[in-house]
Structures are given as structure tokens and as C-alpha cells.
């Protein structure tokens, strides 16, 4: 007779973190090593089920409230995360492809995991405009002169912080140099890279054109120094 599966361990409480690029890198690294199932030892976090249900289950246990996912055919461009007194709800457009679903769900799970009263939003219009501003910032990354505002050492909005945290979770560290080399030297299409990583192509473009890898290495270098 099969033995019942023992309940999974409650994930460890989050360490103190700052809402910045550096903070997102540090927190993502911590999550990978503390029972949040966003990665394994090889750093391959693109396998199916790693975001949902694995990461979701860990966040659910941490918050001690159920998280429900709804795919709505009357939602087209926007994913939404709602906090109710007794549960969390994530609403995503039914038409999002797998890559968009993975990123949207991962980013909303990051909100559920890291948002506290300090960044609680009760003005949906302001939040929507903030999400639009982030989308515009990402789209215009190649036109930015110098370091993207997202990588500067300053406190970010919850929106921008969770975007960076989700990106840190979803792009395996050991793949990062290869992504840049493939795109800029070998000539691999960004679409093919997106397919390999299973993240939206627009975010692959942002990763390459914004100098993300250089900014990441700079933060890592300053940590080592």
C-alpha cells in the first residue's frame, strides 16, 4: 500500500530585502536555495511545473492562504493579482501564450510573496498606470541613454521590483552569457531564445538591449569586492 506523501516543509521566512535591482538579485538567489522550488542545483528553471504549481505551492504555504488562478477569455492584455481577506486570485488572459502566462503568473506570485502593507495598493488606476509605465520603459530600453532606471541603485516601485525579481527567477544564471553571445554574435533570433527560456520574446529583447547582463555582473562584482 503506498505511503501518504508527507506535507511539504513550510518555506523559510523571507530575509530583509530592499526593493532595488540589487535586492531583486539577492532575493531571487535566496529563493533558489530555500525551498521555494524556483530552481534546482543546475539552475535550470525552465522546466514545466516549476512556476505553477511548484513555486505557487511554496508561496501559498508561506502566506498560509490559497492562491487561485483564473484564465479569462474576456481579459486580453493585462494580468491582475488580487488580495482578498482569505485568498489570493491571479487573473490572466486566456489568450496569453505559455511564455506570457509563465511570466505573468511568476510576477504576480512575486507580488503575493513580497508585497506588504507598505506597498499595498488601493488605487487601481494608479497601479494600472504604473504597469503601463513599466511596459513603456521596457519597450524603450534600447533608446535609453546610459543605465536603465531599473538598474540604478534606488528604491523601486513594487511593480518594477517584482518585474526584476520574476526575470531573475526565470532566466537561469548559467544561460545568461550565452543569451547575449547567441543574440549579438551568433545571430540567433530572439524568438528562438524566448522559446528556449520560455519567457516572452519582448523580455528577451529587453534583456539584451538594456545591458541587463552587464548591470547584473556589476552588482555581483560589487558584492564580491
Amino acid at each position: 500500500m503506498p505511503q501518504p506523501t508527507p506535507p511539504a516543509a513550510t518555506p523559510k521566512p523571507l530575509p530583509p530585502f530592499e526593493r532595488s535591482f540589487k535586492g531583486a538579485i539577492a532575493l531571487a538567489n535566496w529563493l533558489k536555495h530555500h525551498n521555494y522550488y524556483v530552481s534546482n542545483e543546475e539552475g535550470v528553471n525552465v522546466s514545466e511545473g516549476i512556476i505553477w504549481p511548484a513555486f505557487k505551492d511554496a508561496v501559498e504555504r508561506y502566506r498560509a492562504k490559497p492562491i487561485y488562478l483564473y484564465r479569462l477569455d474576456y481579459l486580453y492584455n493585462t494580468s491582475i493579482s488580487l488580495k482578498a481577506p482569505d485568498h489570493f486570485a491571479i487573473l490572466i488572459p486566456f489568450g496569453f501564450n505559455t511564455c506570457h502566462q509563465r511570466f505573468a503568473v511568476c510576477k504576480e506570485l512575486c507580488h503575493i510573496l513580497t508585497d506588504d502593507n507598505e506597498v499595498r495598493a488601493n488605487d487601481p488606476i494608479a497601479e494600472l498606470n504604473s504597469a503601463l509605465a513599466t511596459a513603456t520603459l521596457l519597450r524603450n530600453a534600447p533608446k535609453c541613454q546610459g543605465l536603465s532606471p531599473l538598474f540604478q541603485p534606488k528604491t523601486l516601485s513594487s511593480e518594477d521590483f517584482c518585474f526584476l525579481l520574476a526575470l531573475e527567477i526565470l532566466i537561469p544564471i548559467k544561460e545568461r552569457d550565452k543569451i547575449v553571445t547567441d543574440a549579438l554574435i551568433v545571430g540567433v533570433r530572439t524568438y528562438d531564445i524566448a522559446l528556449r527560456l520560455r519567457i516572452p520574446e519582448s523580455l528577451v529583447c529587453f534583456y539584451i538591449q538594456s545591458g541587463y547582463n552587464t548591470a547584473y555582473k556589476r552588482v555581483q562584482g560589487s558584492e564580491l569586492g
Binding site: 488580495k83 487573473l91 511570466f103 529587453f206
Partner: protein
């Protein structure tokens, strides 16, 4: 040489053709202006008035959407809300507000909604 207007040579007084729809002149401005076709100095037709009207209607509709979304959120059980819009989406703020407002209203009204938790693997 002056630019030719729709009614003739620029700078010369032009006698307008008799307006058979004089009754229209008595209609309220908003009804009347929809029927007016403007002619730019280049002689090309312009729907400027119609566009202005349409813009005003859109503006008031989007303002209404914003107010309704805010009111909906205040009345709802939710304590926090966050959004994500992919960078590939080129929608305006008004369009996003309209979409979100419609979606959240339908979502709340849908008593038969079931989460897709078990069906999804990402």
C-alpha cells in the same frame, strides 16, 4: 497665387449656395456639429468637428470608466491589486482601464467561475 478654397479663390468673397437645411441651424450645437463637414484651406475634406466630438465622448467615457473602476474596487472585498502589461502591448491607459473594468465586473458577477489551478502547468 492664393490657395483655392472649397468655395472658390482665396481672398475673394464667395456667395454661399442657398442652404436648404436651414432648419438645422436651430438645432442644438451638439446635434448640428455632427452634420457639418469642414473644408480645410487645401480644399480637402476634414472630419475635424466629428473627431472633436468623438474625442470628447471618448474622454467622458474613459473618465466614467475610471470612476467606476475606483468605485468597484472600494466596494469589493479586495485589499490590494496589481497588474502586469507585457511590453509588446501598445494599449493606451484608457483602453487598459476599460478592459480591466469590464473584466473585473464580469469576474465578480460570474458565480460559476472555477479556478484553473489543477489544469495549469507552467
Amino acid at each position: 497665387m492664393g490657395m483655392k478654397s472649397a468655395f472658390g479663390q482665396a481672398g475673394k468673397s464667395v456667395e454661399r449656395p442657398a442652404n436648404k437645411n436651414v432648419k438645422n441651424m436651430c438645432k442644438p450645437v451638439d446635434k448640428l456639429s455632427r452634420k457639418v463637414t469642414l473644408y480645410a484651406r487645401s480644399g480637402k475634406r476634414s472630419n475635424e468637428t466629428t473627431q472633436t466630438m468623438s474625442k470628447q465622448n471618448t474622454t467622458s467615457a474613459s473618465q466614467k470608466n475610471r470612476e467606476q473602476l475606483e468605485a468597484w474596487f472600494k466596494k469589493s472585498q479586495y485589499q490590494d491589486v496589481k497588474f502586469w502589461i507585457p511590453p509588446s502591448v501598445l494599449a493606451s491607459s484608457d483602453e487598459c482601464v476599460a478592459e480591466v473594468h469590464t473584466a473585473l465586473t464580469k469576474f465578480e458577477a460570474d458565480k460559476a467561475k472555477k479556478p484553473a489551478n489543477a489544469e495549469v502547468r507552467l
